[in-house]
Amino acid sequence: MTDDVVRFLDDFRAAESASVEVLRAWIDVCQLDGLRGGLRTIAGREAAHAVLAAERLAELGAPATASVPEEVRAAAVARFGSPSVPDEEKIALVLARYPDDASSTREIAALAARLADDPETRELLRLIAEGEAATVAWLRAYHAGLSRRGGAGRPPATPDRGA
């Protein structure tokens, strides 16, 4: 179980760190004020998750060695940091990875459920999973708001929570 936890925390830490870079590149060129505001919070969440995973990893006596392949990271930064790729397309790209609300948290929740002997890591992961779910729910609702407007008119400041 410890090996599973260590591997997950290390991979997750690396992925969240890379996400922060991608999100910052997106924020720099984002054309929609409301989306930019939400992306700032989401980037903050991802940064906090990376730090929390790194701290827990260190407490478990494991080194942080995982990294996102450079070509993957660079391609994502280039695409999401491109001013010529529409924001709506970028949101759709993110959401394509999460076809339903549970898909963003399935792996974390499954691991947390097996951590009866490590309640500290379990609760840490449960709350992190809730944060990931909030991110996907907000992006999904924001995207639905954009789609309903068909790209015309004023974009939504915040998602329609009934979407």
Binding site: G37, R40, G44, R45, P119, A134, T158
Partner: protein, 160 residues
């Protein structure tokens, strides 16, 4: 966690937003620091795990609010209220039980009470970026409060 005495809607929107962001960043920073002191003395590993996430998010929220108020031309100057300072003192106290801390913290946020942060966000129609920032930060606060309520129920059940 906005302080008492929020500005009225009649004030200039930008001054209103800056004042609210300043109060919020001060409260979140104080809350994050108090959480760190609680974590250091917390006797329950599962509670400690969640408190770590809440502390990290509180400090992120403080940084986000400060960055936004600076972008709007303001500078952080707010101090937390005496009431909040008192609560932070209790939260970080090594001699007070985890259950008591949970009860005091949750007593400040009744389950059905409207969120001041969400309420403020709704009134920021002319500033979509700040509005979305506060809405998404409020999502974190809702998650944290639900988790704290669950922990409170669990500890209460176990202690009888």
């Amino acid at each position: 966690m906005l302080r008492d005495g929020a500005p009225t809607e009649r004030e200039a929107p930008r001054a209103h937003v800056i004042e609210a962001l300043d109060a919020f960043q001060a409260a979140e920073r104080a809350g994050g620091d108090a959480m760190a002191r609680w974590i250091a003395v917390c006797r329950q590993p599962r509670l400690r795990g969640g408190l770590r996430v809440i502390r990290a998010r509180d400090l992120q929220h403080a940084a986000l609010a400060e960055a936004r108020l600076r972008a709007l031309g303001g500078a952080p100057a707010a101090r937390i209220s005496r009431e909040l300072a008192g609560l932070c003192g209790v939260i970080g106290h090594p001699e007070i039980s985890d259950r008591s801390k949970l009860a005091m913290l949750l007593g400040r946020f009744p389950a059905q009470a409207p969120s001041p942060l969400a309420d403020l966000a709704r009134r920021l129609g002319g500033d979509a970026e700040t509005q979305a920032l506060l809405e998404t930060i409020n999502d974190d606060e809702v998650v944290a409060l639900e988790w704290l309520r669950e922990m409170s129920r669990v500890l209460e059940r176990e202690d009888g």
